[in-house]
Symmetry: T
Subunit: 152 residues, 12 copies
Amino acid sequence: MSTTPKRLKILVLHGPNLNLLGRREPHIYGTTTLEQIDSRIEALARELDVDVECFQSNYEGALLDRLHAAIDEFDGCILNPAALTQHGVGLHDCIKAVPFPVVEVHLSNIHAREEWRRHSIVGQAAKASVQGFGWRSYTAAFRALVEQLRDA
Amino acid sequence: MSTTPKRLKILVLHGPNLNLLGRREPHIYGTTTLEQIDSRIEALARELDVDVECFQSNYEGALLDRLHAAIDEFDGCILNPAALTQHGVGLHDCIKAVPFPVVEVHLSNIHAREEWRRHSIVGQAAKASVQGFGWRSYTAAFRALVEQLRDA
Amino acid sequence: MSTTPKRLKILVLHGPNLNLLGRREPHIYGTTTLEQIDSRIEALARELDVDVECFQSNYEGALLDRLHAAIDEFDGCILNPAALTQHGVGLHDCIKAVPFPVVEVHLSNIHAREEWRRHSIVGQAAKASVQGFGWRSYTAAFRALVEQLRDA
Amino acid sequence: MSTTPKRLKILVLHGPNLNLLGRREPHIYGTTTLEQIDSRIEALARELDVDVECFQSNYEGALLDRLHAAIDEFDGCILNPAALTQHGVGLHDCIKAVPFPVVEVHLSNIHAREEWRRHSIVGQAAKASVQGFGWRSYTAAFRALVEQLRDA
Amino acid sequence: MSTTPKRLKILVLHGPNLNLLGRREPHIYGTTTLEQIDSRIEALARELDVDVECFQSNYEGALLDRLHAAIDEFDGCILNPAALTQHGVGLHDCIKAVPFPVVEVHLSNIHAREEWRRHSIVGQAAKASVQGFGWRSYTAAFRALVEQLRDA
Amino acid sequence: MSTTPKRLKILVLHGPNLNLLGRREPHIYGTTTLEQIDSRIEALARELDVDVECFQSNYEGALLDRLHAAIDEFDGCILNPAALTQHGVGLHDCIKAVPFPVVEVHLSNIHAREEWRRHSIVGQAAKASVQGFGWRSYTAAFRALVEQLRDA
Amino acid sequence: MSTTPKRLKILVLHGPNLNLLGRREPHIYGTTTLEQIDSRIEALARELDVDVECFQSNYEGALLDRLHAAIDEFDGCILNPAALTQHGVGLHDCIKAVPFPVVEVHLSNIHAREEWRRHSIVGQAAKASVQGFGWRSYTAAFRALVEQLRDA
Amino acid sequence: MSTTPKRLKILVLHGPNLNLLGRREPHIYGTTTLEQIDSRIEALARELDVDVECFQSNYEGALLDRLHAAIDEFDGCILNPAALTQHGVGLHDCIKAVPFPVVEVHLSNIHAREEWRRHSIVGQAAKASVQGFGWRSYTAAFRALVEQLRDA
Amino acid sequence: MSTTPKRLKILVLHGPNLNLLGRREPHIYGTTTLEQIDSRIEALARELDVDVECFQSNYEGALLDRLHAAIDEFDGCILNPAALTQHGVGLHDCIKAVPFPVVEVHLSNIHAREEWRRHSIVGQAAKASVQGFGWRSYTAAFRALVEQLRDA
Amino acid sequence: MSTTPKRLKILVLHGPNLNLLGRREPHIYGTTTLEQIDSRIEALARELDVDVECFQSNYEGALLDRLHAAIDEFDGCILNPAALTQHGVGLHDCIKAVPFPVVEVHLSNIHAREEWRRHSIVGQAAKASVQGFGWRSYTAAFRALVEQLRDA
Amino acid sequence: MSTTPKRLKILVLHGPNLNLLGRREPHIYGTTTLEQIDSRIEALARELDVDVECFQSNYEGALLDRLHAAIDEFDGCILNPAALTQHGVGLHDCIKAVPFPVVEVHLSNIHAREEWRRHSIVGQAAKASVQGFGWRSYTAAFRALVEQLRDA
Amino acid sequence: MSTTPKRLKILVLHGPNLNLLGRREPHIYGTTTLEQIDSRIEALARELDVDVECFQSNYEGALLDRLHAAIDEFDGCILNPAALTQHGVGLHDCIKAVPFPVVEVHLSNIHAREEWRRHSIVGQAAKASVQGFGWRSYTAAFRALVEQLRDA
């Protein structure tokens, strides 16, 4: 598929409490702040020649609103559902409804944490997932998503 | 940390039935053969200037033997446990025992398949995981692992 | 009971993602948009000579606020909890607290979908439920609720 | 679809113990007898210009026999499985096998009763369900079913 | 309460397969036939000066029909649900609906048999239960029921 | 054991809804009708020189009555419990009580269908089972049962 | 068996809190005190010409000590385990070890109370059980036990 | 630790529906309004010479925002998660991330209510909890928290 | 209610192993001994002008005996069930039977410990609970209980 | 379909420990050795004019290797998974991947053995199953498979 | 570590019903009495030159009292929790609190008995366990504990 | 039994990953290597005058092969199933089939580790087990097994 006429545009969504990143529990989440993660994603976007937009909210409703608004605008989405991973049925339903692929991302490996964190209702709707690489989970997911979109 | 004196070496392990890749169930696993995946990993390894070795077996025992033998030789491992994902306690214990990080990889998103596939005993021991990108799950995991090893 | 002095007023609440109706997954939810559903409910309300007000939000908090505000104003409520069906304890508690009956509505038959969708925390507090008739779930529920309110 | 040449015919089935309706436990099931419910359904059928036939049995086998016999005769079915709701695999299988839609009906809201009543094996096969409106569950279901059959 | 004007009448119901009693599996159920059990119950009834009627069926529907017919005729019921113990929701609902007390009876102690036999949906509706005394479970239950009815 | 003096006699029982066979859901159950299955079983019986009797009912009670009546008449039984597979405690108890072996038969492979279909209370009492061969499940079971009875 | 040379002796054990009987929660346990129950049992014992001894303790250890001491002295035991019903493994093991039959007794029908009360670890070891007749549970159990001991 | 230089400041958070307090279900929650509870807390704060701020919201996101904003301002928090008790993973994660102790409060004793209310995901992260004293749960928790902060 | 004529009297019960307090596992239970806790409770009792009596036992039976003896003497009880929290059905039943309120107390927050510690059978019967404040759990519970008793 | 040009070829696989057959636990598995079973299968193959190959291994890996090698060579497979029945995900995946039908076989009826043996991960992928006929399970399955292949 | 100055002292605790050993159920527990077991342990103690004290009780409270009293006196403990294995939270907590290692012992192999016996709350706190060797479980545990204490 | 003519011979089997012993995770498994453990077992064998053979494999199949080969050669077996503990149905079946006793051994106390490690399918077939003594688990098991074999 020719990729020239259309410049890819990716939405990056960060769920509840991720605005605290780098300030709390560095033994689990590392010392990088959310602003630094966004900068690294933006740098990678420039390197890959795609547009990106990053958005964080502590409200599931706001994340849904943002995804709904993105339906005709974006080609893919990177989503760190954070605290909405287990019970975020709204995100699950929304991911199934949007026409572009959504990749689930986690900083830590949730399978190696508390039993109840391993269940992911969001992951059951997502196309793919990357977890456990700290902030690199985002960039690894971003790069793979872009490559796959260009392949299709 | 200086990476010059030590050239990184990565082990890639493929679990049971993956030798059939590209020949069966393309709607789930794609049409790429295991040989093609290995070639792509090797190409990426050359690009990143690291050594790589790929190994497939239908025997959990053979995978364990290979990991044991790798203890002093390798700096990291990419593992697609395939049918050993759910009950591979041997792999779980071995991953905890080896001194290098192991990244779990799946071609499909196992959270979106049968209920019983979502449980990963291997993932509870792994450092990170990538799934759902088809063969790109391997290369995305490989690149992220190498970058992180060079960072450390 | 004489119904002349008091004109009935019904609140219709639509939960998360229902604003996408008619645009996505028509094989599950049909092709009718939320606006069309609201029009049909309003037409039925005129036919039955009652007042109606429709409200959609992707925020559970906003649905609660709307219900709280309605405590002294409305005589009944039709609620499609959508993604809040399973874990919407806030809606459950609120339904128990408001003085008017609340009827749960679903477009599809949730018992015939994924196992985890069959559990309804909202339904445990609701007075009645209608599901599986597509947009007609709303109008069937609306008519039955009005008839019952007039009977009481 | 033209509805003139074909007059719709609906089967209404009542499960075990429903013949006791109106005589026992009025705080749960109301004071209306089964004969009164059948009369109301028949009145509605006349109003909607469709044929209807009502049948009650305490034997699951008799309900199955009636459904089998109805295969070529009826266009839809309203079924109150009552005590067969939870374990009526025979009804479940039969509903899947008959060519017309079956709507599950309950007088009370089973989600608000004992935990074990919430599971409905019948509901997993039914097209739609109405519950919690007392005898109006039947008429609401009947009207919606007829409207939908005429739409199709 | 004066018992003279009203002679007590008790219904004894035997569930599926109990007609085989005394012919099969004597190590579990003993060697007494159902006819002998009925004779012993009738002898006890004469001794206690009450009327009794015994009925066995392999159809849950027939047991329900018999209980429905007994509503105005009997003062109490002894029920051995046998194979209907675990899933007999119809019996459960019926016991709750009839105006007289129902006592559950089992020949063997079901708590000492297979795990799945210990759950009794019938017992959740019954007033009392006697089990494990072989045919004496019936007579012990019968006597206690009659004494209690005379006390009330 | 000498087989000359005694001609074997086998009872074939078909559970609820099987009278619909060949008319509904051919993608699951095939296009063969129950009459055709019975003819094939009878042909095989003639070939093997044994007597056979086939019986279908939608009532568990009728199947029990038939088994009870067969106690002294038959040497073995082929039973397709159909919808009674999961909760047919009456059949389970009866199979344990009759003096001849009972073989459970299913047209489809129930392990490959819905989760709840995999549990077989009937199978826990049966001697053997054959499933997944369509109508051939009956003939395969029939032949193996006859061979084994002649061996004993 | 000749019963003349040996006069039967029965031990009646009451578990924790039963000393409060008749003083608390009469809607569940009735208004009869433990002393009154013991008197009624003793009267019945005299009527049946057997010896009886009653003992209550709030300590599981004391109940075990009493049972151990009774090994050579008694012919049967009536046990109301009360709060030890669910987790009294000590009683369970002891009942299996003593050479005489133990009958479990409950004043109320535990199947009709909270979910967690239905499980009886004691009942899995007991020979028989009577429950739901109030204080008559004791006398019904006592009489049946004595009759059975005389039969044996 | 010297408490003079630093005047303690406590945040009191009320979850969804608590604004309805005193208006609904007084048999469970009492007749005190939220404003009256806040007044009593403020009176106690004055008595204990500490600052306090009270905040209610029906949005989990708003509660998270308030906690995030409080990170550098407050010394402790009293939180009544209400409907967010069971599934409020966002609150759980946030409590783990903030540097001050959070005490969970409930008006009623949730262990004595519905089974599903007993599970508290919030309580797994909280330092302490008080429940069942009605509005006094707040003041008891407040006083104990202040005393402990002054001790530390 | 006038409190002058009647001086309140409170029973404080400590369950198994609490006599070891302050000597073992200070990282979980703190360094305060049981004697010191009792002294603090007694000091608070004097301050609040009520009588108090403290009792510890490693026997559930002894705790029950003490509660039974207190029925007519005390106005309320503070109970730390300790190891009896999960399976102490005897305490549960007794709390329901005594006429005064019982408040459950724990030094640590049991929701933040092992999964199996979170279930409290005692808490299902108690009026209120305080946990996680170390020894202050007792004094906070004591003060709130006294205040509430004086209010009533 | 004409069967002349192609002679059918069937693979028979025996799982772990089956080489011990006839030597151990004859009360469960009979006294026939694996060699005798293979001979009987071979005799039947000759009778039916098809080719057969039998293979046993205690290694799941070896069974997978054999199935992989058979992909282009065989028309069907009879598999006794033995100890791999419950957790043999590798066999499950492989059965789904091979182009020919696989029939699961067990000597005993696994539904009548320990609870944990009833779950079959292999059976969820197999086309059909035969169990409980001892060595005849193999020949019954073999004959039915061949007939069905010839039919297709 | 020098063992000369300090002579090791070991406490051996026997739980409920073990005083019956050798008198009951010899097929499970053997024919050796508790006195004989104690003699063998004492003989081994003399051989190993350590002090030993044996104690049996049917009261969990008495076992706790004995362990508490032993805190400063003993170097290790052998504990057969018997009926307290599954629910003995008091023993669990106490084992965690005492400063010396506790070894769990069982005469039979509890993993090979009833499902509910396999769970050991005591074993989760114990250092080691020996089971299934009959009375030799005690002596094997005793010797290993002494050797390990001398090693440390 | 005379032991002179027959010198006992014991097989010691080590499961997957045990070849890494002493090299990895010394905080769990200690610092002793597998070779050192084998030496200690061999020394004990010489002391007890019995023959011994030690074998380790990462393949369950190889362990089964070794056990099968040992059927006529050995008198007992010590087995550390390691990673095969939970799901090693092959070992379970084999242990039941071999004519000599098998004792399960673990270095650590698996009841004190992760929840999922506590289930032992191997232990359900084994005669006895020793765990938690580090390498001494082997020697304690070995000595007890030999003593018991000589006793028999």
